[in-house]
């Protein structure tokens, strides 16, 4: 995947501004872009959410199916996250099998939900070893303007909170649908905060042009208690230990702010 080429003058400008603690769009180094969030946007899905982070736009739909559990965890439901970098979202996305970027995105979102134990998977077991519910989280990138990870993670969390499962009872091993719905058991709220390193400085929520200038990227996901539950470094550069520890502290605070927006009430 080749990214669109960004003119050199602008590359320099971005880097210089960052070293003076400023950004091209006027934000401070640790400011997020404007966040807009809507839930229940796709009626056919059991849960859905649309997140706009600046011009980055992500839609997440949740589908729930009945299936078999994994052999090593027979009493737990199954979580599956997939990400689609739709070709309409950016000239750099090509149709076809998922690229390594799409796979990485899905796996980082997955790791946050899984490791924070956001969904109580035990409650999704119908019959141990035989029948469980499978939660499919499908991340759809609609417009790419940078920081897909944070936008996708927030959209996924909002969609999971929005998800309603049909009521059911088990009769002779068969699932019978009963009237009414119950919410998906979501008990933790992981929030991913992504940093870009430019000119040896850290900024949060990089937009596309900043991503093209950055040396490296670091995503830190924290749960509602402030624990770190997932990490991912990306890009061809590096971080010092000091930068990593500094990022972790910022991530915890930023996540608290964002969590309030995503988990209302």
């Amino acid at each position: 995947m080749k990214s669109p080429i960004i003119i050199r003058v602008k590359q320099k400008q971005i880097a210089q501004l960052v070293s003076h603690g400023k950004r091209l769009d006027g934000r401070g180094l640790t400011d997020y872009r404007e966040l807009q969030l809507e839930t229940g946007v796709v009626g056919r899905a059991e849960g859905s959410a649309r997140v706009r982070l600046g011009k980055t736009e992500v839609l997440v739909g949740i589908k729930i199916e009945v299936g078999k559990p994994f052999a090593d965890v027979p009493n737990k439901g199954v979580l599956t996250v997939n990400a689609e970098l739709t070709a309409l979202a950016s000239p750099s996305f090509a149709p076809g099998p998922p690229s390594e970027n799409a796979i990485e995105l899905a796996r980082v979102v997955d790791r946050g939900i899984r490791e924070s134990k956001a969904i109580v998977l035990e409650e999704l077991c119908v019959e141990p070893g035989k029948k469980v519910f499978i939660v499919f989280v499908d991340v759809y990138i609609l417009n790419h303007d940078g920081n897909l990870i944070d936008a996708s993670a927030m959209a996924a969390l909002a969609a999971l909170i929005n998800t309603k499962m049909f009521n059911y009872e088990v009769k002779e091993g068969e699932i019978k649908v009963k009237p009414g719905y119950t919410p998906l058991p979501v008990k933790n709220y992981p929030i991913a905060v992504t940093f870009a390193k430019i000119n040896d400085k850290l900024i949060v929520d990089p937009w596309l042009e900043e991503e093209q200038v950055m040396d490296a990227r670091l995503t830190i996901t924290t749960d509602k208690d402030g624990n770190i539950c997932a990490l991912q470094k990306g890009g061809y550069g590096y971080f010092t230990t000091q930068q990593i520890l500094e990022a972790a502290k910022i991530a915890k605070n930023k996540a608290e702010e964002l969590r309030k927006r995503v988990v209302k009430g």
Binding site: E100, R107, E115, C229, L231, Q232, Y236, I244, A248, K249
Partner: protein
């Protein structure tokens, strides 16, 4: 969350199931230049991990449109043999393998002078023959040796090591059981001359304080692995030199 545990992984004296103390690495064996056809190669055993790495290049890029005009294209394929794990793994690359291929590549590139050979590709093939936890780090440790063996100019070697949390204890270089049953695993790759962390991942749950300790612990592990890497590289040529002296 209740977890099935047949036995404790760490006893009251802080000794682990394989007899190690919390801050100890597993035994590591490194060999360089063991494949005939590859331009560079290395082999690592770390605990029960057995991993082979081969490097080809720099060479012409195929397909041609992937060539980059101002630097070499580093490509990496991390792959697990079907027989490397308890239950046969499908030989088709999984999403996990593709993600690891990407982060390993990104961890190595800062150490390579890719600008020296524009329009070429450097291809790195990692085959995990037997897996026992911490394969991405062991692969990285061996991969930087294979790159050096291929004569690819590097600013330094990359050493990699994980640290994790097992039954409330922070421990170095988790084995498979500790990784699966433990609370967290944090792999790190490190370039000594830059004091740079080039790979950092984690899954699990740790506090901010534990996180800081884990990062430092993993880097301490890398510091122990780095001299072993240098020794392994030199060993290949010292053998030649000794022969001549006689």
């Amino acid at each position: 969350m209740p977890k099935k545990k047949t036995k404790k992984l760490i006893d009251k004296n802080g000794v682990r199931i394989d007899g190690r103390e919390l801050n100890k690495l597993r035994p590591i064996k490194l060999e360089v230049g063991i494949l005939d056809n590859a331009d560079g190669s290395a082999y690592i055993e770390q605990g029960k991990n057995k991993i082979l790495v081969g490097v080809y290049g720099p060479k012409e890029v195929h397909p041609k449109h992937l060539a980059i005009s101002d630097r070499a294209l580093l490509r990496c394929r991390y792959h697990m043999a079907p027989f490397s794990v308890q239950e046969r793994k499908s030989p088709a690359p999984s999403r996990r393998e593709r993600e690891l291929s990407k982060v390993i590549k990104e961890a190595l590139q800062p150490a390579i002078f890719v600008k020296y050979y524009p329009r070429t590709s450097i291809e790195l093939f990692i085959e995990v023959l037997q897996a026992d936890g911490g394969t991405r780090c062991a692969s990285l440790t061996a991969a930087s040796l294979a790159l050096a063996d291929a004569g690819i100019p590097m600013r330094d070697l990359v050493a990699a090591c994980a640290a994790g949390k097992v039954e409330g204890h922070l421990a170095l270089d988790l084995n498979d059981t500790e990784d699966k049953e433990g609370e967290a695993d944090l792999p790190v790759a490190w370039i000594p001359t830059l004091n740079a962390v080039t790979l950092l991942q984690m899954d699990g749950k740790v506090t901010l304080e534990e996180f800081e300790q884990l990062v430092n612990m993993a880097i301490e592990g890398c510091k122990q692995i780095y001299p072993l890497q240098k020794e392994a590289l030199k060993a290949k040529y010292i053998a030649v030199k000794e022969e001549v002296k006689e």
